[in-house]
């Protein structure tokens, strides 16, 4: 579904220095796969996500969605950001309805759909609240509902649980998997947490430090549905985590070699 073809990204920093953030990334992501992009800070993983999202254009190479080059953002690739990015001037319901209304869905129908989604993410009763009145975890649920509301084929999640406390994070991880199980969208999930990556995904793409390159792609052969309590005690899960953590340690050193 998504093809990333020799993508590189160079940024101009202040002055005349240029920073190579991504180097020759090639990656194919199948329909319905839950793929985690994992790496140390500054490895360009968010940049890669933004390129797929069409928010940033690669300086080299091309990213394609269903064969067509990605030229800009669109409702087929829905983002969920770490900072939530909710519209503060709209209520929860207003935020979730935004996408469908933009697509031309009639108000009544959009509202009905949105209320369903809000209930699905566990926020029934909060439809008329403003984002400022919600906790971090609740805001992220709204952000998720808002993106799901316009039925994207791909979910682009940029460290969505990074700003939340550990307890809320584990709850939302569970909830995310439950929601995902329903229609198995393609998900690109950026994170720097190894156990989060292994817990959630089918495939973990391990990246090196800047300039970001793909060090390894690890297939996670763990059964679904995944339950945290079971997995934490599962030796296969533990092996994956240890293995990948070792890879990350190594990458933190060899990022500079050409």
């Amino acid at each position: 579904m998504i093809e990333i073809d020799r993508v590189s990204q160079t940024f101009q920093t202040f002055g005349r220095k240029s920073h190579l953030a991504l180097s020759q990334i090639s990656l194919t992501i199948e329909d319905g796969a839950f793929v985690a992009i994992l790496g140390p800070s500054g490895c360009g993983k968010s940049t890669l996500l933004y390129i797929v999202g069409g928010f940033v254009s690669p300086t080299e190479g091309v990213a394609r969605m269903k064969g067509k080059p990605i030229a800009g953002p669109g409702p087929d690739r829905g983002p969920v950001f770490q900072e939530f990015a909710l519209f503060p001037w709209k209520t929860v319901l207003g935020n979730v309805m935004y996408g469908p209304r933009q697509q031309g869905v009639k108000s009544a129908e959009a509202e009905a759909q949105s209320r369903q989604l809000i209930e699905m993410v566990g926020l029934k009763g909060f439809e008329d609240f403003y984002p400022k009145e919600l906790s971090g975890g609740m805001k992220q649920r709204v952000a998720l509902a808002r993106t799901l509301a316009y039925h994207p084929a791909v979910l682009l999640m940029d460290e969505p649980f990074g700003a939340l406390d550990a307890h809320t994070r584990t709850r939302l991880q569970n909830d995310l998997l439950n929601i995902w199980e329903r229609d198995r969208k393609t998900v690109l999930f950026v994170t720097h947490s190894v156990d989060e990556a292994v817990f959630l995904s089918d495939k973990v793409v391990v990246m090196t430090r800047a300039p970001g390159r793909i060090k390894e792609i690890v297939d996670i052969n763990l059964p679904r549905p995944r339950r945290r309590a079971d997995l934490l005690l599962d030796p296969r899960y533990q092996k994956y985590v240890v293995e990948i953590e070792r890879m990350i340690d190594d990458t933190s050193e060899d990022g500079l070699r050409p």
Partner: protein, 255 residues
């Protein structure tokens, strides 16, 4: 701030005003100042109440308010318009930015004689001066608010399918409203000040004119009345704007 904190603040705040008025009263009563220079507060407020009922005074207020609102409205339209345009388009920004840098520190009141020559001594010159002075804070705060809009908000809207040309009105403008309203508040105060001063410098009607007329005839009481009136008007308008702000920004986190 809880209710109790609010009342203590208010009470505490009334104290200096009450003290000031009391001081005023004391100075007059003890004869430290002749009535011709500093009339007692009672007399001034009585005169104010009396004047508020007369047609001529009401008309003066009307004239001043009209010029104030006209100038302020023009400033809002132009300020928000140019501010948004400059935030959206680097080309516009390149032109607007240096012009604003040059014109902002210039005392616009110095242009007043030119305006009088070009537009006459009536409403137009005052309205233009008000607009010219109120424009810059509004323009700058609009520009600031619009350019500081969180990138991720814009991206979220784009991903939801909002076409580029609608982003300005659906995302940037609402997100910039807090900043715009702050600029408007400053602009409103400036409008009050400028209209009054312009009427003092040259005019045939309005509150400022009343003050100058009273000064010429050494009527101290009649000098205080328009001054207090414009202060009260400023306070009331400011309060209204704050109310509007609270309503418009009911969703926004406290700034």
């Amino acid at each position: 701030m809880n209710a109790r904190g609010l009342t203590t603040d208010v009470l505490l705040g009334i104290v200096p005003i009450a003290l000031a008025v009391a001081l005023w009263q004391a100075i007059s009563s003890f004869g430290y100042a002749p009535v011709t220079l500093l009339p007692p507060p009672g007399l001034v407020f009585a005169r104010l109440a009396q004047q508020l009922l007369t047609g001529t005074f009401q008309q003066a207020i009307g004239v001043t308010l009209f010029r104030l609102f006209a100038g302020f409205s023009i400033a809002v339209v132009l300020g928000v318009g140019f501010g948004l345009a400059a935030a959206a388009s680097p080309a516009v920004n390149a032109v607007v930015r240096p012009v604003v840098r040059v014109l902002a520190p210039l005392p616009k009141v110095a242009l007043y004689p030119a305006l009088l020559l070009l537009l006459g001594f009536g409403h137009e010159s005052k309205i233009t001066l008000v607009a010219a002075d109120a424009l810059f804070p509004i323009l700058l705060s609009t520009y600031y608010g619009a350019s500081m809009v969180e990138q991720k908000l814009i991206w979220s809207a784009m991903a939801a399918g909002t076409p580029r040309r609608q982003i300005m009105f659906k995302v940037v403008l609402p997100a910039a409203v807090p900043s715009i309203l702050t600029g408007c508040r400053i602009g409103l105060v400036i409008s009050c000040i400028v209209v009054f001063l312009a009427e003092m410098i040259t005019s045939t009607e309005g509150l400022g004119h009343l003050l100058v007329t009273a000064a010429r005839t050494f009527q101290a009481v009649d000098m205080f009345v328009p001054l207090i009136t414009i202060s009260l008007l400023g306070l009331i308008l400011n309060g209204l704007l704050q109310g509007l702000r609270a309503w418009l920004l009911r969703g926004f986190p406290e700034v």
